[in-house]
């Protein structure tokens, strides 16, 4: 029986809304908080309706980049990520939630589609050397955010798990 070994890495004492890069022997994770103005400008330039931008401005955007630096397959499954703010769980909405919300608001399909492409995939497998990412959206908070990201490894997800915890990540705010 295959013994599952877990690799844990905890990164602490990151005090600002600045990019955080975590490197382990197996993977590299980058977290870049984006301000409402940064994201608003991006979506405005893509012709997103004001109603859509107003909703998005309320969110805390964090761009996540994931690279497999190992020689085995690594599996992203966002349902295996635990996110807290100030010690309490906060909900990262699934892309299906956003799809439903935009449909209810009558947002044009092209804008819905572009929005979806800016989100991190819910599930993805990474071959050695591959790099993919996208945004996660959280309700805006001024409290420190902790993310515990668990990744399965190996062809059939039977390899050692990789668990990476980031503490004290902050939502980015526009300076007055």
């Amino acid at each position: 029986m295959l013994k599952i070994i877990t690799l844990m890495l905890v990164v602490t004492n990151i005090q600002a809304a600045e990019p955080v890069v975590v490197k382990t022997p197996d993977m590299e994770l980058g977290f870049t908080p984006r301000t409402a103005n940064q994201m608003g400008s991006f979506y405005e330039a893509r012709g997103f309706p004001k109603a859509m931008r107003d909703v998005l401005k309320q969110q805390c955007f964090i761009t996540v980049g994931i690279e497999n630096t190992s020689n085995k397959k690594i599996w992203l499954d966002m349902s295996n990520w635990e996110i807290t703010a100030g010690g309490k769980p906060i909900k990262r909405e699934h892309r299906n939630y956003w799809k439903q919300r935009w449909q209810n608001m009558g947002i044009p399909l092209s804008k819905q589609s572009t929005f979806r492409w800016t989100l991190i995939p819910e599930m993805l497998d990474y071959l050695p050397g591959e790099r993919e990412g996208g945004n996660i959206l959280l309700p805006f908070t001024d409290k420190p955010i902790s993310i515990t990201a668990t990744f399965a490894t190996g062809e059939n997800k039977q390899g050692e798990k990789i668990i990476i915890t980031i503490d004290e990540l902050f939502c980015a705010e526009d300076k007055e």
């Binding site: 991006f42 330039a45 893509r46 012709g47 044009p108 399909l109 092209s110 804008k111 819905q112 589609s113 572009t114 492409w117 995939p121 993805l124 071959l127 050397g129 591959e130 993919e132 996208g134």
Partner: protein, 184 residues
């Protein structure tokens, strides 16, 4: 039992036609970095117009290997990859190989202006509402699919590849040659 094994080995090593057929069915095992085997069966057909207003249907490309590329002008790696796709198109000119680009969910003006600004001689189909992209489900943007002459999807490549470099060109020519051998 030993006799059967011996016969199988003889067939594999001394009947190249059959062996090349096996190779095609299985796909070429060694693929360059960034390309994945993606044997999902028949390519889903679509009909889209390009920036000149011409209508294109995927099934009309049967008989060629097709490099089907999904992109958007707002995506950084997509922009960076364009010159490499131009090189690919140039180097594969005259081969049974087609480059088909699909812009995801942008309007005609945006695509026209972007392609004009980067000095490439590439046309693109317009998936204005993103519906075709949703059906094809690329891993991300940009993503390219390789479809064989029978209309079967064989490979998927995630973005940012140096398509004009020898490693990719040689791989693609090997695919074409394998088909050519099979037809002889």
């Amino acid at each position: 039992m030993k006799l059967i094994l011996k016969q199988v080995l003889i067939v594999m090593f001394f009947v190249p036609g059959i062996f090349s057929s096996l190779l095609v069915n299985a796909g070429i095992s060694e693929v360059p970095f960034g390309i994945r085997h993606y044997d999902i069966g028949s390519a889903k057909n679509f009909t889209l117009i390009d920036i000149d207003g011409e209508k294109h249907e995927l099934t009309n490309s049967k008989g060629n290997w097709v490099f089907l590329h999904f992109w958007a002008s707002w995506c950084g790696p997509c922009r960076e990859e364009m010159p490499a796709i131009q090189q690919l198109a140039d180097k594969m000119k005259g081969e049974k190989f087609q480059v088909i680009m699909i812009n995801t969910a942008e309007d005609e003006d945006t695509v026209f202006e972007f392609l004009g600004s980067i000095n490439v001689d590439l046309n693109s189909l317009l998936d204005v509402d993103g519906a075709v992209t949703e059906v094809w489900k690329p891993r991300g943007l940009p993503t390219s699919f390789l479809i064989n002459p029978d209309g079967k999807v064989k490979y998927q490549a995630i973005g940012g590849r140096e398509w004009g470099s020898p490693v990719y060109i040689n791989f693609l020519k090997k695919l074409l040659n394998t088909d050519a051998k099979l037809l002889k």
